[in-house]
Amino acid sequence: MGIEAFVAEIEQYKQRVPVQLNRFIIAFASRCAEEVVVGGAFGPGTPVDTGYLRAMWYWSMNGGGSSPALARAPGATFAAPTLDAADLLDVVAGDTLELCNNTEYATYVELGTSRMAPRLFVRTVANAANAIAQQVARDLGWTDRAGLQLELAL
């Protein structure tokens, strides 16, 4: 390989890496959100009674975003949220992406009380972050996953 071809390959690589990285970030964030909100192989999902707690999840990118405005009434039930995938399309490496829930009793459900065991529906997913990352990498068709180690901050 001549030096020009080598440089061209490096340039191509430089363009390809951010695209692949962004694909991974979006897929990883989506998968984590899915595990927290509705549950799956890596988490139990948000516990549902009326569904209000589950319906209140929303994305916040770099501090933006706003909580869903849902009116509570006796006997009302709420469907699972549709976390807008469009919110994630602009995400690039370096952005701060948060999955938020402003429900006033969310902490009690997650951490438990003296009368109720903790459900840990968020922490269980955070604990599985590395395995989720591995799974997402497999889903994206990446073959070299040996060095992929991620941690979620709580």
Partner: protein, 230 residues
Amino acid sequence: MTGSFHTAIRSGMRAALAALVKATSGPSLFGLTVSSTTVATITRTDGGSFVNDGVAAGDELAGSGWSNAANNGNWYVTAVSDASLLVTTPATAPRAIVSEAPGARVTLVVGLPSLVADENTTFTAQPGQCWWRETYTAGPEQRRSLGPLPRVRLDFLYAISVFYPAGAGAAGLDGLTDALQAALYPGRVLTYNGQSFTMLSALRTGFVEEADWSSVVFSARGFAYSFSPS
């Protein structure tokens, strides 16, 4: 992984936590003045400070070295000063406590509360007595090697919810979570029945306030390897 492997992790965590020491006072010449069948005051004149030793309101003390055997055992701290502790015995298990002048060398140790709501057991909290609850969550299993008996990695989450009587203040829970943080440091390897597991990280939450209790949840992450397939 087999159920016994999860049992080993839980048991190993329990054993490690049973040895937890948050604060120690003594051995020294302490006095005990009983004011009712369940209330007493422990005093010291050795120049030391119970506050500096780390004892706080809401703590459960394990005392040893008293001349009267009934004075040894568990005490619940309701007030602390440098030179004295106001303590109570469990009302549900009253002991024949008697006053003692300083004479024997006494040691007071604070660890995790003795009242535990272990998983899969029935538990009733007692008013005024601190307690804790374990919650064990097995995480995903990841195959790390090929072959008929692959090496499998299991991540787990062990949450410790500690409850102190409301109004006891934050010092007791803060000190206890500091001790937990120090005991379950990342990289610590624990072993139980030949199975070893490694701590990854430990996080505490803010206080959860209820009418009767203040609590903190301490979640410790760890992982273990097994050659046993699921």
